[in-house]
Structure formats: C-alpha cells, structure tokens
Symmetry: C2
Subunit: 388 residues, 2 copies
Amino acid sequence: VARTAFPKATHAQTRAHNAALVLRALYDLGPISRADIARLTGLTRTSVGELVSDLERDGLAIDAGRGPSTGGKQPTLVALNADARTIIAVDLSERTFTAALANLRGELTTRRQRDLDGRDGDDAVALVHELIDDVRREATSPILGIGVGTPGIVDQEGTVRWAVGLDWQDLPLATILEERHGLPTVVANDSRAAAFATYLFDGEDRPHNLIAIKVGRGVGAGLILRDQLFGGDGDGAGEIGHVVVDPDGIECHCGRFGCLETVASTPAILRDAAAAGSQATTIDDLARASADGDDRVLPVVRAAGRAIGSAIANLTGTLDVRQISILGTVTALGDPLFDAIRDEARRRALGPLAREVRILDGGRGEDVVLLGSCALLLTRELGLTVHR
Amino acid sequence: VARTAFPKATHAQTRAHNAALVLRALYDLGPISRADIARLTGLTRTSVGELVSDLERDGLAIDAGRGPSTGGKQPTLVALNADARTIIAVDLSERTFTAALANLRGELTTRRQRDLDGRDGDDAVALVHELIDDVRREATSPILGIGVGTPGIVDQEGTVRWAVGLDWQDLPLATILEERHGLPTVVANDSRAAAFATYLFDGEDRPHNLIAIKVGRGVGAGLILRDQLFGGDGDGAGEIGHVVVDPDGIECHCGRFGCLETVASTPAILRDAAAAGSQATTIDDLARASADGDDRVLPVVRAAGRAIGSAIANLTGTLDVRQISILGTVTALGDPLFDAIRDEARRRALGPLAREVRILDGGRGEDVVLLGSCALLLTRELGLTVHR
C-alpha cells in the first residue's frame, strides 16, 4: 500500500538484469521451455526469446530436445551448458596449495598441487601464480574468474589483513591476482568458503544456521547465520584458532601464547605426539597408531579433542547453533578424536543447549574450500547459487 | 521486472495495515500534517483523514496546533499522544524484581519492587503477579500489555525453558501472565531485552552489530547481529554465563562446575571477597573497598574482570563484533574491574581484532531491561520502534 520508489534503470541495466534472471532460471530449473521461463520470470515471450538467443550465442545455453506437450506441439527445451565456462578454484589452507578447474556446476576436474616447503610472504604469492598458470593451461572453455580460499582475515575487497602462517599482512591478494592473470577474482577466508560449500550442499533441509570448523594446518570457523555468511564488523568472525585457551601454553605464530591452534591444529598434535614418543610424522600415521590403541598417541588425540570440544561449548553458549561440522585433515583421527570433542562440548555447555548440538564429521574435505571458493565466485559474477 | 505475487488482503486487513502506517508516521515524524502523512505513506488524503479520526477517537492521536504554511493556509498538525496507553514493564533479572509503568515513548514512571528473598518456582511467579497488580493500580490510561525480561532461555512463545536461579523449567510465563492479567504479554531473556534497548537508544550512528553483556546476579549476553536480535536455533544464544571456564571450579546452580557465573557474577564476587577476609556484603561496599585499595578485595575484582575479559575474547574470535557493553550491578566496581576486563580481552584475542573492540561501561542499567521489554512489546503490538 505504501508507495515505493524504484530508481530508474537504464536500458542496458534492465537487459543485464533480465539476462541474469533467464540464466538463473536455466541454472536452477533447466532443461526448461521458453514459455515456462517467461511464466516464471514475468518477462514477455519475445524478451525471453532474445535473451536465450544471446545466451546460446555465448555458449551458455544449449538446445535440450523437446519437452512433453501441454496440449499443442512439444516445446523445445533449453538448458544451461555447464561446461561453457571454467572457474579456477584455489585452496591455500594447507602446506600443499591446490588449484583445480571447475565448471559452472562446481564439478572439479584438473587438479594441480604445489608444496609450500616453508615458503611464505612473496614467495608464497609466487607459488599461487604458478599454480594458476598450471591449471589455466588445461582449460577448454573461457575462464570466468578465480576463486581463492586462504587462511587468515580477509576483507570484502579480497585483501588478506593477516594470515599468520603465511606471514601475509595487508596483502591485496584479489587485486594482485586480477592484475597478473586478467581475471575477476574472489578471495575469501578458507573456513568461510568451507562453511559456504557445506551450507550449499546440505540439500533441501539445510538449516538456517551452521558452523563449519576446519582443523588442519590451522583452526578456523565459518559461520552461516540466518542463511548468510557472517563476517562480523571486520571480517574476522570465526577466527577461533587464535583465541587463547591456555595462557601458560606454547608460543603461537601470532605472537601470543596458548592459542587454540597451538593445541589442536595438526602440526600441534604431531608435535605433542612426538614429545610423547610417537614416531608418526603424518596425521595418517597417527590415526593408525591411535586406532591400534597406542598409549603414547591416544592421550594426545584426546587432549586435542577436548580443546576443540571446549571451543564448541563456547560457540554453543554464544550462538546456540545446532549443526557444527568438523572438516579437515584432523578428522582422519576418527572416533578417539570425535568422542573427546563431543564429551567436552557436552560437559562445558548448558544441558538444554548441548543436548541439541550435532557435531558432524565432515571428513577431510579436500574439495570443500575449492568448492566454496568456486561458489563464491559464481555468486558474485553470475548471481548463481550452486546446488546439487 | 520479475512478477511478484501479492496475496490478496481483505478489506479489514488493509485498513489495519494502513492504520499502522499512519500510527508509525505519527510516532516517528509527528507532529505532522495530514497532507504530509498522505505524501509519505502513499495513502489518499481521504483515507488518511479517516484513519487519523479513528486514532483521535482512540485517544492515540491529538491535535498539535498549526504548522508553517507552504503557500496556502497553515495546516493543522497531528501528534501521537504518548500517554494514551500504558505498558507494564517487568525486570526479573535480580534478587529484587522490579515493575514499572511506561508510556508509548518508553518513558518510565511508577516503579515498584519486591524482594525475591530466596523464593523460586511458583512462589517467584506469585511475586510477579503481585508486582503487576501493584503497578497496574497506578495506571491512568488503558494498558497495552506486559513486557517481561527474565533470566534464562526463553523461546518465541515466551516459555522459559530454563532459568537456573529461579528453578523455572518449561514455564509458559507469557501464557500464565496473559491468562491471569488478561493482557498481551511478551517475555524475553533479560540480556536480550537489554541488548535491544542498548541498540535502540544508541542513536543515529548505532552499529549494525553489538553485544550487551549483563553481569549481576547472573551473567548473560544479548546479541544484535545485522541490526536484529539473534537467538540461535533454540533461543539460547548469549547464554555465556553457563559456559564452563574452570572445570575444577565451584558447583553452579545448573549442576556443572566452574561456569562463568560461578566466577564473575556479583554473588560469586562477594563470596570470593568474603573468603579473602572482606566484610563487604554488597557490591557497593566492595566498590568502596576496592577504590580504597583494599588488598583483600582488589585481586578478587581483577579475577572476575579477567574471566569476563576472557569471555569477551571468545566473542571477538567468534563474531568480530566491535561494540561490547557491560551492564549491570557489577559495573559499580569501576576501573579496577574494567582495566582487568580490557587487558584480558586484548591479551586473549588476535591483535587486529582485539584492537578494534570497544568495551563500554554501560552502567548499572537499572532501567535497561525494563526499557527493552517495553520496546519488544511495542514492536509486537503496534509495530513501533522506540527511539529517542
């Protein structure tokens, strides 16, 4: 009833907006007839015809045979050509950087890896360039852009404000990659990308709120609150890895002592296991030893689990979010880890809240940061929401 | 461009909706002319005239003289009559329950208090009834409803799922009060009501995110995220008082050991001060002793400050919310407390995040729960957003 002001749109803006509507209809609902697109978008048949032709010329739409007749002749169907564009997805969250190619459905193909080998600063940036060059050579369709998941606090412009382990401070990574590679680039925190992917691929009954905690080389959380990523005032939400859990603890890369990362990251667990006499040099070694009931290893795994569980109790008390997924290499440690996590989360949070929390094993999630980065790029560049 | 479906509204619904629009215009912008209301709402002059007449008949709108001429004769102005309705606001967060009357601007008048004197369960409910009867007798205009702020987890229907200190479990307080007093009732968590009031009264440059931590008899937080109260999946968000901070600590009312409330609530501080040899029986006594540099008291105050600061570091790492207000009786402890809070919050959170956090002394906030409860009722019953 109240009068609403619509700012006047230029013809070009209107056309771009309508083209995006049609693309989204193809993406979400295709194969679909032009008549159904017109009905669902409210555009005229003529407009839809023109816009679909444009998309066909760009290779984004393709003919998909004929649909069932609704009385008259069978309508021609149009579908999205998911392979019409390639996305470069990059995951910088572990010691081995990974890049992959993805199509418009987030289906990952060509994958390349490069070991960080202790590099940081500009050398680590150089490695990112090399990886992007590596996969780009393999692309067989025009490249839409680059999506990157990186540890650290990342602002809206894709500047890494601080990535402790990579020694990046105020590094305008998105701009650097855009200039060097000439492609639109989205850079996001790795845990946030992982949370976005977890949310998107959770299917129809996805919850409105969820938290993904990534535990590997670092520890970080991504928050989906009311169906949106929540970044806080300075894009630092979820940086739980650098909350001090033991003031008398070990020095952290960030300069503080006893951060969660000094207790529960995979390097910390391996270090503590070694101190307890274990020969394990990888998390998989440790997982085997722990499964075999190695008494030197089990207490270390349980201590890490308790630290993560305690962090989850804090999240529960703060946010009362009921779905919490643990992702990353640490999940290889299996039941001994998860039992400790769940016990401690329950022990440290208020009964009625703790009882409702589901702490899920999200697996290694080798692809989850790649998928999330890819999805963030697709949303920004084409307004599409990846789903399966 | 896309076609949007509006569900058909009945005539009565349309009229109620339009009446609410006019009321909001009066509330937010009055004194105002009928012509300006028509211009701003998009309603016809005739509709506005009729709706204003209705509001005048109900006593909600009053004549407010004449405004400046814009060419023709001076227009008559209409204003909201803030005293046309009374709200009963109730604060159950301390050992002394408080009820007050408020007008439609949230201006509090008649105030009555009753000591809990150790009562809980049904006896505590009886005390709430008595308090409401006490203030209701003083009302000089029709009563719009009751707004209650209570400790504990409170669901959307106003059922107290668990209020540890009052021994209330699954108590349908809103329904109980509605039936006994025959008035619409909103029941909300006290810290959440306090956060809502803090947000509303923060003025023009209010932040989109803020956290109010209430520390008194209990400890709880209210979260405003993206300009809305955030309750989480089960309305338990902000229940930080029952997160375990010291597993070897003292038993809490909730049955766990070492919850934040066992260290940082005002009863806990008084208990620890007594154990250290202090004679103080109230927080004000303790504040005086602490200001005088009493060596028995200062370490206790600082320990409580550190516990609160540590909880804030968790909030910062989780949410990166930069405005955090501490409210409640504990604030009487002044600088020794706040210095310890700020030091510990800074020490335990990541530098770039911690540097931006403003930890504000929100004062005793004797009215803040009353104001927040009143504002929640006004929003629900009349769609009005209290501001000053």
